[in-house]
Subunit: 255 residues, 2 copies
């Protein structure tokens, strides 16, 4: 069990839940910086990010003590610290495989190519698409996966292909040396140990919404003919709510 020596503060174990929120904080911090705000309190930052302020403070405390008591956090400084922790102070070359609607949307997505990430290439298997230009990149053939990865030292791959092609593309990416994959295809990818896969699934999110929507509107009638309305609000993770409810009945939810 190789323990790292004390190099200052605790870096070895940042909770996964915290990591998932850091990018959100980072975005809010960038927005503050653009507005010319120099310092923010945990309360303000938390409100803008839609989370509890205690949670935000605990999250930030995992990176070190970068705040000033009585004042708050220096925006620029915190931007740097969070970026560094996320590994965004270096540039990550990214390969996008699949130049359909989704691939194109990703290539054109502003926040994608801006801070920390750089699109190395956009690839597609369809000869009709190869050669066309997307977001300043000429689409290359799928046979270019290996050379492109080697040439640009790519370690992050994005799969935006149809479901059927995803596993094959994934295997080739991994064999070529990619160790991080963002998968938009609706399949569960099999990868060797040591490769990190994250999945974004449009329809799953929609189905979760449907569940809550149904929950809110279900009216049940029991054997007495009495009606039980289950229109209860279910507050879930990471969302802000502005006071003054327009929709729905009384909520037990947080203010």
């Amino acid at each position: 069990m190789s323990r790292r020596p004390a190099t200052g503060h605790n870096t070895q174990g940042i909770p996964e839940a915290t990591i998932a929120r850091l990018p959100l904080y980072l975005r809010v911090l960038y927005a503050c910086a653009e507005q010319g705000i120099a310092t923010v309190s945990s309360e303000e930052l938390a409100a803008a990010a839609g989370v509890n302020s205690a949670k935000l403070r605990k999250d930030l405390s995992h990176l070190g003590s970068y705040g000033t008591r009585g004042v708050g956090y220096d925006v620029d400084y915190l931007v740097y610290q969070v970026s560094r922790e996320l590994g965004l102070t270096q540039d990550w070359p990214v390969v996008i495989v699949g130049a359909g609607n989704l691939g194109r949307a990703l290539a054109n997505y502003g926040g994608f190519a801006s801070r920390g990430f750089r699109i190395a290439a956009v690839l597609d298997a369809d000869p009709a698409v190869v050669g066309s230009e997307i977001a300043g990149h000429v689409v290359e053939g799928a046979d270019q996966i290996e050379p492109v990865i080697a040439r640009h030292q790519v370690s992050i791959g994005v799969i935006a292909t149809p479901a059927g092609a995803a596993q094959g593309v994934c295997d080739r990416l991994v064999a070529a040396g990619v160790t991080s994959i963002l998968n938009f295809a609706p399949v569960v990818l099999s990868v060797p140990v040591g490769v990190d896969v994250r999945k974004v699934d449009l329809s799953i999110e929609l189905q979760i919404l449907a569940f809550h929507a149904q929950r809110r509107s279900v009216v049940r009638v029991d054997q007495d003919g009495k009606r039980y309305y289950e229109g209860r609000v279910m507050p879930a993770d990471g969302r802000s709510a502005v006071a003054g409810g327009v929709v729905g009945e009384s909520a037990v939810a947080a203010p």
Copy 2:
């Protein structure tokens, strides 16, 4: 506190974590059905979904006892039960606002329009796009938000607009009666209590990947000049790993 009477089994409290996994199980079940598989064991289902089998059983047990001991689960029956629980036995009309690359990708996304969801309309603010056809729908103007929602009884809205337009669109959707929103714009939306918002953020996922990628490759040198390699594998939620590691060094991870 209105408690519902016992109508058979426990329906009032399905954990959020379980709900988030049900759509995944549902997809795997559909895949089984298409392959002609009549029954599956929790072990098989869990492997295909990339989760622990005990977790899968516990998840399914929240919906009721729909398995047969010694045999497994009847695929068709389970598909029905999960669909019902998620509220997918009814059709949900969905409005997509924003007909850019992402909006088009969503409209064309197969699993989107297929089971449980129906695209009621695609809207956009850009007059140049209005009138064009996307996935069989003529794009309507943003001024049609209210009439479209009223006409089709829409309760789910998808926001695929630029960040700047998202909050405004959101407010209009909510005012028109939409209570569930799937947001692709990189902003935190403010909504009244009783409205459910889920967010899908492409760049956040990428940043989380970057963090793990960095983690894997960081080499630190301490004051002794000794090198500490932190190339430890970090297994995260919901991913399967096939044995026979090609990439990375020895892992403490599960098989």
